[in-house]
């Protein structure tokens, strides 16, 4: 979207607001209000900067979008939200122009709305059952809940209204949270609210987990994550950074010797999978985790300031079709690659990435090679990547999951030159906690086994997020963190 489009949209929102404010709206009228598009940075500009792609609704746009909500009594959207935000409630406040009021409605159940508003897959959660979307026969035309949520959260922060929720009087009990990612931070807040002392242990030097090392700056500004973590600190949550539970101190020692009454493990899915093809250890092949950690957490894109080096890339191949693949490709583009390809074995239909991310990547000039997958990575005599041998696929019969499985086309191999390959095919569970805590039961894939209250095989130890779910989303991790917190608060009563 160009700058002119943005101005056009903003003017339209103003006119639309004037129009709808002059009448009493029937549900039919609300259905007729156009979806408010998210203003974005121009693709030609943004592909060479790290600034946020989506610039956020204007107040007028937020209010117009809020008028589209039918305020259904049964609120199917709330059931679609893993942390059960009172969606009609906060949208109602936005409609009245009471943005601060809207923020406090959200904050009752979600302390990290500026993050959720940006990275939640609303189209698969709250927006999926939206009555308006159903009536208009398109999820995309449902109420843009995430965009309104983001507006409210940004409004609150930018107006200096960000205030820590109150914590109950001290109970004198201590809870350890292992991992400062979305699951851990959510759990920390809910436990702290009940007056328990909370210590968050984080292996990295910054809080946020995947929100700081994985999701790029242009999709989720790091200052924002830091400010959310700051809210936790002002609630009295303490953070022990560069502290690897299992190695720096055993989980059992925290419970038996250090006075913690309970613990929550939210260590994430941190062990990158590779394709298991020849040449994958050549110089120039990265896991998406490494590529993104170098650039996000270690800020390798700040040349001259950051000390962590960045491999110079001209032609980049990203393997995979999820959000992480999109992030890696778009990051490579911003770092100056001349050509970035995403190779995916199936077609766009089957791609697990969010539609919005795919569209953004396409707008930025990422080339999608569908029905393609590498058979081997080719290197030169110095052990550096020079290309991929790529096999073409076609879609065969549907498998058990209903997805049509790709079948290699014999004799279709071609050699395509690349100097960088980024593998974004998911993660396995990190073995550190389970190896150093033998009594902790894990399944065949190393995921921690929990009951319906997120309790593990060890008494007073709970777990949630990707270490339980496998690679999932920020909001699902938050949902598990919340459920674990409720269970912890219950046993500590």
């Amino acid at each position: 979207m160009s700058h002119m489009d943005t101005i056009y949209n903003e003017n339209n929102a103003r006119l639309e607001l004037d129009r709808i404010r002059s009448m009493t709206l029937t549900p039919r009228d609300r259905m007729a209000i156009p979806v408010q598009e998210m203003p974005n940075q121009n693709p030609d500009l943004r592909r060479s900067n790290m600034d946020e792609v989506a610039t956020g609704y204007t107040p007028d746009q937020a209010m117009v979008e809020a008028e589209r909500c039918l305020q259904c009594k049964n609120a199917p959207c709330v059931a679609g939200c893993p942390v059960r935000v009172d969606i009609p409630g906060f949208i109602g406040k936005v409609r009245e122009g009471d943005f601060a009021g809207a923020a406090s409605v959200i904050k009752r159940t979600n302390l990290l709305p500026s993050i959720c508003g940006r990275v939640c897959p609303q189209e698969k959660q709250c927006q999926l059952p939206c009555t308006l979307g159903k009536a208009l026969k398109s999820v995309e035309k449902g109420v843009q809940i995430g965009r309104i949520e983001r507006f409210v959260a940004d409004y609150e922060r930018n107006s200096g209204l960000l205030a820590p929720p109150p914590a109950a009087a001290s109970t004198g009990k201590k809870v350890a949270i292992v991992g400062a990612g979305p699951a851990g931070l959510t759990c920390a807040v809910d436990v702290r609210r009940q007056g328990h002392e909370v210590v968050v242990f984080e292996a990295f030097h910054k809080a946020g987990g995947v929100m700081v090392y994985g999701i790029p700056e242009f999709r989720l500004p790091k200052a924002l994550v830091a400010s959310e973590a700051g809210v936790l600190e002002s609630m009295g949550v303490s953070f022990e950074m560069s502290y690897l539970v299992g190695r720096t101190r055993k989980l059992s020692a925290l419970l038996a010797e250090d006075g913690f009454s309970a613990a929550f493990i939210g260590t994430g899915a941190g062990l990158p999978k590779f394709m298991d093809i020849p040449g994958e250890n050549l110089v120039g092949v990265f896991s998406a985790n490494e590529y993104l950690t170098r650039t996000n957490l270690m800020k390798a894109y700040r040349k001259g300031e950051a000390a962590t080096p960045l491999y110079p890339s001209r032609r980049v191949a990203v393997l995979g079709g999820g959000n992480v693949a999109m992030d890696s490709a778009r990051m490579a583009m911003r770092l100056g690659a001349e050509e970035v390809h995403i190779l995916y074995r199936r077609t766009r239909e089957e791609m697990p990435a969010r539609g919005e991310e795919v569209i953004h990547a396409m707008e930025e000039g990422i080339i999608f090679d569908f029905l393609r997958s590498p058979a081997r990575v080719l290197g030169d005599q110095n052990g550096r990547v020079i290309g991929l041998e790529v096999t073409a696929f076609e879609l065969g019969e549907a498998d058990a999951s209903g997805r049509r499985s790709p079948v290699a086309i014999r004799g279709s191999e071609t050699v395509v030159p690349f100097d960088t390959v980024i593998v974004a095919v998911g993660n396995e569970s990190n073995p550190l906690i389970s190896r150093t805590t033998p009594e902790l039961k894990v399944d065949r894939r190393g995921h921690i086994i929990v009951d319906e209250k997120q309790k593990t095989s060890i008494d007073r130890v709970y777990a949630g997020g990707d270490i339980v779910l496998g690679a999932a989303t920020v909001i699902l991790a938050m949902g598990e963190g919340r459920r674990a917190a409720a269970a912890i608060n219950e046993v500590l009563q």
Partner: protein, 299 residues
């Protein structure tokens, strides 16, 4: 947020080698031979540097690292002074498997003598007879000799230029020891990859079990990035969570050395620039130091 660790002391061991004692009570208590830490000069733009632990003092709550200034980040670390803070994470990696093997030969090259020290200590404590082979380019770069002489049953010193001990590579005495009857029960080698590669080649014909401690490029050190991966026995392993010690006969050394050199051209430029900056700083430090003394004298 907590996480800063104070540097307690710093000593320059040779032209490019520094020894630092860093306050880290939990790491000092938990660490075992063979483990490493990740050190970062600051939490904003600094690189994460994996460094093996040379020693630890649980009573004082400190760990000792010994490092060589090879790139921009190690230079920056060398410029830190006692009282300054660093980010430190650890202890990482699996401890060395220690048991009573019988006769153990420990081969350390250059800076590798530092991480070898706790391994020698642990092997001795487990009742092994330990022969150390201490190697360096030149006498000036030979470190940890007081410690090794005190601990080892025998310490064989070799230098490339003959300025200390025998003029030989570590593989020479290693080959001789392996030729004895009975041969060593285990060999542990820590040092430059090329040295470890040739140690592996030396012991292999004798069928002597050999462990090598690898120091690859790493970012997080907890299994998350996969940057440290090496091929061992045809399988990809992560040095940070599966290592850092592996069967030296199974390591794909050529691949490991190539991966270690991934950023060499970028690092070399930094190295040269850092050396220049360090000499300027040293010069400035000397000048201000001299001015200070002059001032005191005047009083």
């Amino acid at each position: 947020m907590h996480g800063e660790h104070k540097i307690l002391s710093k000593r320059k061991l040779s032209d490019e080698v520094y020894r630092m004692e860093i306050e880290a009570p939990l790491v000092a208590r938990e660490r075992k031979a063979g483990q490493f830490v990740i050190v970062q000069c600051d939490e904003n733009y600094a690189e994460r540097i994996p460094l093996t632990i040379a020693d630890a003092n649980p009573e004082a709550g400190s760990v000792t690292i010994i490092f060589q200034t090879v790139g921009a980040s190690t230079h920056k670390l060398a410029l830190k002074e006692p009282g300054d803070g660093v980010v430190l994470l650890g202890p990482l990696g699996n401890p060395t498997h220690i048991e009573k093997f019988g006769w153990a030969v420990c081969v350390g090259g250059g800076i590798g003598l530092a991480p070898l020290h706790p391994i020698v200590k642990a092997l001795k404590a487990a009742g092994n007879r330990v022969t150390v082979i201490s190697g360096a380019r030149t006498a000036e770069l030979l470190i940890m000799q007081d410690e090794m002489n005190a601990l080892a049953d025998e310490n064989i010193v070799v230098t490339d230029d003959g300025t200390a001990g025998r003029k030989a590579l570590v593989t020479e005495p290693l080959g001789e020891l392996c030729g004895r009857t009975p041969p060593p029960d285990i060999v542990v080698t820590v040092g430059p990859p090329v040295m470890m590669k040739f140690c592996a080649a030396t012991t292999k014909p004798f069928g002597v079990k050999t462990l090598a401690s690898l120091n690859t490029i790493m970012i997080d050190g907890t299994g998350m990035c996969g940057g440290c991966r090496v091929s061992v026995g045809g399988q990809t392993k992560f040095v940070c969570v599966d290592g850092p010690e592996f069967d030296a006969h199974e390591v794909d050394w050529a691949q490991m050395i190539t991966r270690l050199g991934a950023y060499k051209s970028l690092e070399q430029a930094d190295h040269d620039r850092c050396h220049l900056e360090m000499s300027i700083e040293n010069l400035e430090a000397k000048n201000t130091g001299a001015a200070g003394t002059a001032g005191k004298a005047a009083k």
